[in-house]
Amino acid sequence: MEENKTYVQDIDRSLYDFRNEDADAYRFEDGLTEEIVLQLSEEKNDPDWMRELRLRSLKLYNEINVPDWGPSIEGLDIDHIATYVRKNTKMADNWDAVPEEIKDTFEKLGIPQAERKSLAGVGAQYDSELVYHNVRDDVAKQGVIYSDIESALRGEYAQLIRDKFMHLIPPDDHKFAALHGAVWSGGSFVYVPKGVKVDIPLQSYFRLNAKGAGQFEHTLIIVEEGADLHFIEGCSAPKYNVANLHAGCVELYVGKNARLRYSTIENWSKNMYNLNSKRAIVEEGGRIEWVSGSFGSHISYLYPMSILKGDDSQMEFTGISFAGTDQNLDTGAKVVYIGRNTSSYMNTKSISKGGGVCTFRSSVVVNRSAENSRTSVSCESLMLDDISRSDTIPAMDIRTSKADVGHEAQIGKISDEAVFYLMSRGMSEEDARALIVSGFADNVSKELPLEYAIEMNNLIRLEMKGSIG
C-alpha cells in the first residue's frame, strides 16, 4: 500500500473508490424529524444542554432557507439523506481492536502507517462515529487531550466544551450550521495546555462509506496561551450515484501568543455535497495558519473564517482547489479584523478542467478598531481548456483609513508555447501539461506535510491523466 502512495505512476482511483457493504449497519430512516434528533440524542447519551441545542438547531434548520448564492444544491434532497449511519462498533484505542472491514479501509488509505511514522496522534472516523483514536504517550503526558467529542462531553473539560461548542459558529449562522447543530456526531476534541508545544502533528481522518448518508463531525480545538499545534484533517469517500452530504463544523480557539496550523486535504468522492464550516478566533499575538486542498466533491461551499480579535494577531491562508468534470468548487476564506496591528495573508490557486468550475470567494472586513492592520489577497487560476470556468469574487469592507490593503488576481491558461518548449526536451504532451500544473501548485504543496504533498501531486497526476484531446 505504501508504494501506491509513493510512486506517482502506480496510483489509480480505486485507492479511494472502493466501498464496503453496509448491510449490518444500524441506520436511521431517511429524512430529518424531531423524533430522529431525540433518538440520536438519547443514543449518544447527551447532556441536557446538548439535547436542547439539537432541538433548537432543528427548529432553525427548518426555518432558514438554503443559500441563494453560490453553486446550486438542488441535487441534494435532504429528505432522503439518512442523517445518521453508524457501524455497530465501539471506538478503540488499539488498532487491532478495530473491525477488519473498517481497518482494511483505513489501511488502504495509508492510516495508521502514517501514524507510526510521523504523527503524535490519530483519530479515524468512519461514517458518523470515530472508530479509532490514539495519542502518543509523551504527548499525553504534556497534558494534551485528543479525544472524540462525545467522551469529552463527560470528561474533565465538560464545562469548557459547553462554553465553546457552537459559539464560534452558532446554529443560526446558516442552514447547514443549523443542520450540523441538530445531528452532529463524532469528530475531535483537542486541548493543548498553556505553553505546550506539540512538535509533531495530530491527525484526524474522516471516511464516509455509507451510501446517501451525511457526515456531521464536529472539531473543537483549543490552543492555550503560548502553545503550538499542527492539526491535519483528511477526508475521503467512495463514489455512489446518489448524493452524500458533509456538513461538518470546525471551531478553533487560538490563545494569546499561541499558534495553530490547520491543514486539510479533502478528497471526497464526486457525488459529495461538501457544505463545511470552519472558523477560528485568535487572541493577542496569536496566529492561525490554514492550509487547504480541495480536490473532491460535486459541490463545495468552503470559506474558513478567521477572527483576528487580539492586537498583533495574524492569519495566513494557503489554499488550492482542483475542479474537474461535474465539479463546482466554491472556496475561499474570510477574515474579520478587530485588534490593532493585525495582519492576514491569503494565497490561493485554483485549477479547472473538463468543464469544472472554480470560484474563489474572499471576504475581508476591517473594523474601525483595527488600526495599522495589513491584508494581502492573492489568487491565481489556471484553466486547462475552453469549457472550464474560473471566477474570482473578492469582497473588502474597510472601515479604517489606517489599513494597508492589497489584492491581486490572475487567471491564465497553459500556453501552447510552454507545452511546445517542454515537449522539445522529450516530454509527452500529457507529462508536459502535468508538469506545468504541478509547478503551478508548487508553492501550495510546499506548505503541506510531506505525505500530503505527495498525495496532492498524485491527485494532480491522476486528474491530468487522459486530459489530452
Binding site: 501552447d416 522539445s424 526536451r425 522529450g426 508538469l435
Partner: protein, 243 residues
C-alpha cells in the same frame, strides 16, 4: 562529406495562412556545423520551429529526414527523443519547476530510465561551472526571473546535459554582452567536442562564430536559401551584406 544526419528537402511551411518557407533544401552531416544567416523576418526561426515540429507551423510540402527516417509528421517529443534539440530565442518561464529537476526529468523521459541523483548532480555542477552559471540557478524555477543572458546559458546547459545529435540554436547570441557570448560560444564548442554534435546555428551576427569551427553557411532571403558556401561566406557577408 560525413554521413547525412538531417536532410531537408523542398520544405514549404505556412503559418496562419501565410507562406513563410519556399522549397528549402539543407543537408547536414554528422558532426557538421552549419550557419543560417539572413535579414530579420526572413524565415530563419520558422525553419527551426518547423524542424522541431511546432504545431503552429504547418508543413505544406517537402520532407524532413533525420538519420534516414522521415520525421515530417512526428510529434515534438518523438523528435526530441530521436536526438533533435532546439535552443529557444525566448525560453519559456515555468514557475514551480526547478531547472535541475526539469533537466533530470527530461533525461529520464528520453531514456525511460531513472537517473542516479549523485552522478547527475556532479555532471550538472561541472557543466554549470563551465558556463559560469551560479550554482543556485539549479534550484531556481525554470527561467523565472532569469536575465536574458542566464536564460541563454540555461539553454546551453540543457544542450550539454541532454547531448542531442543535432542542435538548432535560434539566435542564441542575441542580446548577450561580450563576455556572455564568449561563455556561450565555449559551451557550444564543448558540445561539438564532447558529443561530435551537429549544429544549425541561426544568427544574424557573427560574434558567436569567431571561435567555432564552421563547415557551411547558408543565406536565407524571403523564405528561400539563396546562397550556400563554406566558412568564408561569413566574411563575405560581413563585408558586402546579404545580397
Amino acid at each position: 562529406m560525413n554521413s547525412e544526419l538531417l536532410t531537408v528537402k523542398d520544405l514549404n511551411v505556412r503559418v496562419e495562412d501565410k507562406e513563410i518557407l519556399n522549397d528549402v533544401n539543407i543537408t547536414i552531416g554528422e558532426g557538421e556545423t552549419h550557419v543560417l544567416m539572413g535579414p530579420n523576418g526572413t524565415g530563419k526561426s520558422t525553419l527551426g520551429y518547423a524542424l522541431m515540429g511546432s504545431p503552429k507551423y504547418e508543413i505544406t510540402g517537402g520532407s524532413i529526414v533525420f538519420e534516414g527516417k522521415d520525421i515530417t509528421g512526428e510529434s515534438v517529443n518523438e523528435r526530441a527523443k530521436s536526438g533533435l534539440f532546439l535552443s529557444f530565442q525566448n525560453p519559456i518561464e515555468v514557475p514551480g519547476v526547478s531547472l535541475s529537476s526539469f533537466i533530470r526529468s527530461a533525461l529520464e523521459q528520453r531514456s525511460g530510465q531513472r537517473i542516479k541523483l549523485w552522478e547527475f548532480k556532479k555532471k550538472l555542477k561541472a557543466t554549470m561551472e563551465l558556463l559560469n552559471m551560479d550554482e543556485e540557478y539549479a534550484d531556481r524555477d525554470l527561467n523565472v526571473g532569469f536575465s536574458g543572458g542566464e536564460k541563454k546559458k540555461a539553454e546551453i546547459l540543457q544542450l550539454l546535459m541532454l547531448e542531442p545529435k543535432l542542435a538548432i540554436l535560434d539566435e542564441t547570441d542575441s542580446g548577450l554582452d561580450v563576455d556572455a557570448v564568449k561563455t556561450v560560444s565555449a559551451g557550444i564548442s564543448e558540445y561539438q567536442k564532447r558529443c561530435n554534435g551537429s549544429l544549425l546555428i541561426i544568427t544574424h551576427s557573427t560574434r558567436i562564430l569567431e571561435s567555432l569551427k564552421v563547415d557551411k553557411t547558408h543565406v536565407m532571403v524571403d523564405g528561400s536559401i539563396v546562397k550556400t558556401g563554406g566558412p568564408g561566406l561569413v566574411d563575405e557577408i560581413n563585408e558586402h551584406g546579404f545580397v
